[in-house]
């Protein structure tokens, strides 16, 4: 019996697969495994101690917490931005569209310095936020003198951005914005307005159309944007260190801990912390991707 060789319609599977694996190993897997091999030279106890010291733990909470929050904020507002860019015509739309990409292009240190200058105690915005309470109280008395009794309650209101965890969040929101806009925009572009018109003709109000028709089709894209913004935020260093103030236990991010350890020639400790970051990031991204392909499959059932 002659054996029939199976032919694929698309040729070159062997070659492209081999290339993919080799490239991925060289560029991603080998450097990453070095992190684990390096940190494995510590004894388990010492390793555990290095990655769970209170200061390091506080930095995990800040890094992952602020990154998740920033990605969530960016998902909401990135969606709104994408919506405006796709659905409406307004003057200077192209300029707005180009502005979205700026956080990609700006060297992160520049972004960090600019944000710090804005939000520092004597910065443009910082000085108003710092004394928000007294400014509000003054405005209240000016507009409505009878409200003066509220003054003492408003007085203590003060928002400090620079050199606090809030500053970290602001920087991460800034650098993560383009990811959501750029993933949602093309999907929204493809979304037929006929779907919304159909929903309206069936009696759906605007928000019902949004919730039942538009958002479900956008969820995969929103999740992708969220994942990208989150990944970028976790790894962000340059823009954060300027505005964070880097107070141990308060506003110190994990990448900074790693740098600090490196500067103290604690290479093994640095890689150990890096390994923890990698594992947590991987698990989180893997979960998001799983969620995304699940929703994707539900949506794609339709063609």
């Amino acid at each position: 019996m002659a054996q029939v060789r199976a032919h694929r319609v698309l040729p070159g599977f062997g070659l492209s697969m081999g290339y993919t694996v080799a490239y991925l190993s060289l560029v991603v897997l080998i450097p990453l495994s070095a992190v684990f091999i390096r940190s494995a030279s510590l004894s388990p106890d010492a390793l555990w101690a290095a990655v769970t010291s209170p200061r390091v733990m506080a930095s995990y909470r800040l890094s992952f917490g602020a990154s998740l929050l920033a990605a969530a904020i960016n998902t909401v507002f990135g969606f709104l931005l994408a919506w405006s860019l796709v659905r409406y015509r307004f003057p200077a739309k192209r300029i707005v569209d180009a502005l979205v990409d700026l956080p990609f292009a700006l060297p992160t240190a520049v972004a960090g310095i600019a944000l710090t200058a804005l939000y520092a105690r004597n910065g443009w915005l910082g000085q108003y936020l710092e004394n928000l309470g007294s400014k509000l109280a003054a405005a209240l008395v000016y507009l409505y003198p009878g409200g003066a009794w509220l003054g003492p309650y408003l007085e203590p209101l003060s928002i400090k951005v620079a050199f606090t965890p809030l500053g970290v969040l602001v920087a991460l929101v800034f650098i993560g914005l383009p990811f959501v806009v750029r993933t949602v925009q093309p999907v929204l572009d493809d979304l037929d307005t006929e779907l919304e018109e159909t929903a309206a003709s069936l009696g759906a109000r605007r928000w019902q159309t949004m919730r039942r028709v538009v958002l479900p089709t956008l969820i995969p894209a929103l999740l992708t944007g969220f994942a990208l913004a989150f990944a970028r935020a976790v790894g962000e260093y340059g823009s954060v260190i300027f505005i964070a103030g880097n107070l141990p236990m308060v506003s110190e991010i994990t990448p900074l801990i790693i740098i600090t350890k490196l500067e103290q020639y604690d290479y093994v400790g640095a890689t150990a912390v890096a390994a923890v970051m990698l594992v947590v990031s991987f698990v989180l991204l893997f979960t998001i991707n799983g969620l995304q392909s699940w929703t994707d499959r539900r949506v794609a059932k339709v063609g």
Partner: protein, 363 residues
């Protein structure tokens, strides 16, 4: 419900999509808006639906002005050419959509929704697909689901925008017969847009023929087909042969040839006109007198069913470098046998049923 539109005008930038459209759509009829692409028929349908608003003019539903009413409140069922099914919902949920989004006080209980959806799915004969997703359906099935979904909210009028436009020929034919039967069952006032005259003739009670943003002719389907009022109507409503020429007494002069006219045209002698004949209204003469009938030569003969179709080439219009005229004649197989035509043979075309229209400078 009856629909009237009065003096509708709609422009997009400088382009006039609709100009002074006034029409009545009587209750319970199935009406076709027929016309070539770009004639404004879809725009008119969207204005009736409330998806688009006219610059000038009124839309009356049962005599009541609908201008202030949003598409949500007009109770129209709208079906798109590309179905516009909700991809992330099962067929069941698609059909149930209109019931589920009703304000809480009017929203029917789950048991009612279920019963109603299955009723509708049975009506479109697709009950067995309830739990599939739109991607798993064929084009014809999707369109029937889209129709069931539109019917779920008990619309007062059904508007269909090229409903069979993206289906293949066989499914299209089945589906339009089915739509006709469905309409006979439901008697809901329905307007559908099409550019296919066969579709309009087969399905509709009445036809509104449109061209370049204006109504060209309107009336019962058979009437419009049998008595086209304008040159455009004649040539749009079926295959035609065109004979540009001049009226000369009781006959038409085409180049050097003459063709006798049966009816006296309402056109003065010597005026430039265009005469039309359908393929079955022409006859082929093999050894005619010189000058009697339009000269042409046989190019191709093919037989389908009881008729034979003969394609012929005429002389190019005099004074123009245009390509030679093409004619198409339908004769019985019997007649074909008598004529014993051969490709390349010189013959003459005559007709006793030429319809003459004055030349429309614009077309």
């Amino acid at each position: 419900m009856s629909i009237e539109v009065h003096g509708i005008r709609k422009t997009f930038g400088r382009f006039v999509a609709l100009d002074a459209i006034s029409l009545e759509f009587p209750t319970g009829e199935l009406i076709a808006l027929l016309g070539p692409s770009g004639c404004g028929k879809t725009t008119l349908l969207r204005i009736i639906a409330g998806l688009e608003f006219a610059d000038v003019g009124r839309v009356l539903f049962d005599g009541e002005d609908a201008a202030q009413r949003d598409v949500r409140e007009r109770q129209v069922g709208f079906v798109f050419q590309h179905y516009a099914l909700f991809r992330h919902m099962s067929v069941f949920e698609n059909v149930a959509f209109g019931l589920r989004v009703k304000p809480r006080k009017q929203r029917p209980p789950e048991s009612f929704i279920k019963r109603r959806v299955y009723e509708l799915l049975d009506l479109v004969q697709l009950g067995w697909l309830a739990h599939r997703y739109p991607a798993q359906l064929s084009g014809g099935q999707r369109q029937r689901i889209a129709l069931a979904r539109a019917l779920a909210v008990e619309p007062r009028v059904l508007l269909l925008d090229e409903p069979f436009g993206s289906l293949d020929a066989k499914v299209r034919k089945e589906l339009r017969q089915w739509l006709r039967r469905l309409h006979d069952e439901l008697h809901i006032t329905s307007i559908f847009v099409t550019h296919d005259q066969d579709e309009a003739i087969e399905v509709a009670d009445r036809v509104v023929l449109m061209n370049k943003g204006r109504v060209e002719q309107t009336g019962p389907t058979q009437d419009v087909y049998e008595h086209p009022a304008t040159a455009f109507a004649y040539s749009f409503l079926g295959a035609v042969n065109r004979f540009p020429g001049r009226v000369d007494g009781g006959s038409l002069r085409v180049g050097d040839a003459t063709v006798p006219l049966a009816e006296c045209p309402g056109v003065g002698g010597g005026e430039e006109v265009i005469a039309f004949a359908r393929p079955h209204e022409l006859d082929i003469v093999v050894n005619g007198d010189a000058g009697e009938g339009v000269p042409a030569s046989v190019r191709r003969i093919f037989i389908s069913g009881a008729v034979a179709r003969v394609e012929l080439t005429g002389d190019p219009p005099s004074g123009e470098a245009a390509e030679p005229r093409r004619f198409e004649v339908e004769i019985t197989r019997e007649r074909l046998g008598q004529l014993n035509l051969q490709p390349g043979q010189a013959v003459r075309l005559t007709s006793s049923r030429l319809r003459v229209f004055p030349v429309d400078r614009q077309s």
